[in-house]
């Protein structure tokens, strides 16, 4: 009895010693300051639903990275807030840098807000990973040294869909009527679209600017009907696309509708049977790549629904930053810039790896057109989209869709 007890005591003390040696570095890392990251994304307004997915994505990456021991023995701490509007976004970014002591900034979907945060980053000479805003101008005439861009720019979306339209004989000699969101992103998308139409033999017979708070489109639909185009084309953003699609289906106008921007959350919200046409995307959860499938399975297990493209992009964006911090062994802005400008390859859960182009800080990657499945083919309410083949094709260089240096006004 006594010996048994003694053995127990020995085992317990051994366990204690073991735990304290193992626990020691853990205590040290808990004492080391967390790596704070300021994250801004719209949670209200016409992009709010996308921002909600963005938060889910970055939170998931944060938990995974921290569960695996963090970065350089330090935990990552994401401070995420609603960016509300461009002015508030800038104020919050400045406050995060000054008062909350964040190491660098990430996030955004709204191009106008991304622009003001970029200005804050440049003024403070601090790193900003601009994740989800797609306006060309951000990586063109408004580019700056401190900002890198993860999402595909508007001209790539135009190419991705435009090429599909050319292939389907829906471009040459066709009359287009476009509806364009009246802010920086819409303007950019609209001008990229016009350029594509001009180069490929399409004509624009009507182009109307639509304020971002429009939810009811019937007067615009009447204008479209009066103009009798061959194809209707949407350059809108956020849930405006959903509203347009639903009301277009409600009126049942005979012209096919396509568009150069549609996030999958907004496509899902339109519901099966309302959506038609060809649209671009940066990623979709049915993508046939093993690493992507693992991410999707884990996301569904955690949140009970598949990830939207903004969840995916925030997830890979944080992993890009984790890799950058590990490789540079720092959270220093200049070291990040130098590291990313080396055109380091990153696994972004796609068939091909991506890299930031050194002279405009744009992540060069594959994009995809998608169409809508025939009715009754969908397994669930998220499954009615059919992902097309990646563009550029497997034998083309990744940069073939991106604007060339001569045509880009970006000067750092």
């Amino acid at each position: 009895m006594t010996s048994y007890n003694r053995r127990n005591v020995l085992k317990a003390s051994a366990a204690l010693v073991g735990a304290s040696t193992l626990g020691f570095p853990a205590i040290v890392s808990a004492q080391a300051a967390n790596i704070k990251i300021g994250h801004l994304t719209p949670l209200t307004g016409f992009l709010g639903a996308l921002g909600a997915y963005a938060q889910l994505g970055i939170r998931m990456a944060e938990e995974e990275i921290n569960a695996a021991g963090g970065v350089m023995g330090r935990k990552i701490e994401i401070m995420s807030e609603d960016s509300v509007n461009p002015a508030t976004a800038a104020t919050k970014a400045q406050r995060m840098l000054d008062r909350d002591g964040v190491n660098f900034l990430m996030g955004e979907i709204n191009s106008a807000s991304a622009l003001t945060i970029m200005q804050v980053a440049a003024r403070n000479k601090r790193f900003y990973l601009q994740i989800g805003a797609r306006s060309d101008a951000l990586r063109g005439k408004n580019c700056n040294r401190y900002t890198f861009h993860v999402d595909i720019p508007s001209h790539v979306m135009v190419y991705a869909v435009g090429k599909a339209l050319v292939r389907d004989n829906m471009m040459k000699g066709k009359k287009f009527f476009t509806l364009t969101a009246d802010y920086i992103f819409g303007h950019d998308l609209g001008s990229a679209a016009k350029q594509f139409f001009a180069e490929n033999g399409g004509t624009v017979i009507g182009d109307e600017l639509v304020a971002t708070d429009v939810t009811e489109f019937s007067p615009y639909l009447l204008k479209i009907r009066q103009a009798k185009p061959d194809i209707v084309c949407s350059n809108l953003a956020g849930n405006q696309v959903t509203n347009l699609i639903k009301q277009y289906a409600e009126f049942g106008l005979p012209y096919p509708i396509v568009g150069f921007n549609l996030n999958t959350a907004d496509a899902w919200a339109a519901g099966e049977g309302n959506l038609s046409g060809t649209w671009p995307t940066v990623w979709y959860h049915t993508l046939d790549v093993p690493s992507s499938k693992t991410f999707v399975a884990n996301f569904i297990k955690k949140y009970g629904k598949p990830p939207e493209n903004h969840a995916w992009i925030e997830y890979v964006a944080l992993y890009i930053m984790a890799q950058a911090m590990r490789e540079t062994k720092s959270t220093d802005t200049d070291k990040f810039i130098a590291y990313l400008e080396k055109e380091t390859q990153f696994d972004i859960l796609k068939g091909r790896k991506g890299y930031f182009r050194s002279w405009d800080h744009q992540l060069i990657q594959e994009a995809y057109p998608f169409t809508v499945r025939k009715k009754g083919m969908a397994k669930d309410k998220w499954d009615f989209l059919e992902l097309g083949k990646a563009v550029p094709g497997p034998n083309e260089p990744l940069e073939v869709l991106s604007v060339t240096k001569e045509h880009n006004t970006c000067v750092m």
């Binding site: 709010g48 304020a211 708070d213 019937s218 009447l222 849930n239 959903t242 409600e250 009126f251 519901g271």
Partner: protein, 292 residues
């Protein structure tokens, strides 16, 4: 040809105005009788849409647009009895704050229950598509909407002008003290008005859900329009609100026909012009209790 297009926009604007009316009329009634600007009115519109999508899942579209407003009207009893009633005689800023706070709480509650992602409600297949009257195009669904609005409008008018209920309400708007002196308690009438008002908002939400998307902030979106309609129409006047709602719809349609980018601004310009020349609104009555 141009005239025909314009006429089409006018007719379409009238239909849209009818929908604005559903929401604005309740807001106006609650304001006129209770002296409270109900900033939570949009929340009831959103709740109506969400309840209707739940009912649609089990019972279908028809029962949903009937039962959802009834359910929200019941919520209206609680709202009036436990919250609004305390503020009729108080400083208006208090009721503004309380109803604004309630609107935010409701929006967050919706977010917690149904999530932030927009939800799609499909209209019954029979209503999809358009009908043509001559060269005019009408969405079938919006014709249904118009029919419902007309029925509701006629019912409310009869209730306010041909029933004893309405006589008390109209007297209560103008001279609440006199009504009290006659031994009539206004409180149960006020409960009824709030039920009616938020019920109509819920009906608007349920009817508009298949046209747009159902999302947590939809209430805040519609409240602004409803408020503008009430201000343009003028307080205390049934026809003022009707006229104003239709006018806002038509002006928006015509503006979009000529200057599409200014479509959403048109109603504010209209409000500005009306307030410049008729501060009381188009058909607003002089209400003694509000004139100090």
């Amino acid at each position: 040809m141009q005239l025909e297009f314009l006429l089409e926009q006018v007719v379409n604007g009238l239909v849209l105005g009818g929908y604005y009316l559903l929401i604005a009329l309740g807001l106006s009634l609650i304001f006129s009788v209770g002296g409270v600007i109900n900033l939570a009115h949009g929340a009831f519109y959103a709740i109506g849409a969400y309840i209707s999508l739940e009912i649609t899942k089990y019972l279908g579209f028809g029962p949903a647009i009937v039962l959802s407003p009834v359910a929200v009207a019941m919520l209206g009893i609680l709202f009036e009895r436990f919250l609004l009633r305390r503020f009729y005689a108080a400083d208006p800023i208090l009721s503004l704050l309380v109803t604004f706070g309630l609107a935010m709480i409701a929006e967050q509650l919706i977010r917690m229950i149904w999530g932030a992602s927009p939800i799609s409600v499909n209209m019954p297949a029979v209503f999809k598509g358009s009908v043509f009257l001559g060269d005019f195009i009408f969405s079938r669904y919006r014709l249904l909407l118009l029919a419902v609005v007309v029925v509701v409008l006629v019912s409310i008018w009869l209730l306010l002008h041909k029933a004893s209920f309405g006589r008390v309400i109209r007297a209560g708007i103008q001279k609440p003290d006199m009504v009290a002196a006659l031994g009539i308690r206004l409180q149960p009438y006020m409960t009824a008005i709030v039920m009616l008002g938020v019920g109509m908002a819920a009906l608007g939400g349920a009817l508009f859900a298949p046209i747009t998307i159902v999302h947590p902030a939809m209430g805040a979106e519609v409240l602004t329009v409803a408020f503008v309609v009430v201000v343009i129409g003028g307080l205390g006047s049934f026809w003022g609100v009707v006229l104003s709602a239709l006018l806002v719809g038509v002006v928006r349609g015509i503006t979009i026909n000529f200057v599409p980018a200014a479509g959403e601004a048109s109603m504010y310009v209209l409000m500005f012009l009306v307030l410049m020349f008729r501060p009381r609104g188009l058909l607003g009555e002089r209400i003694e209790k509000f004139e100090t």
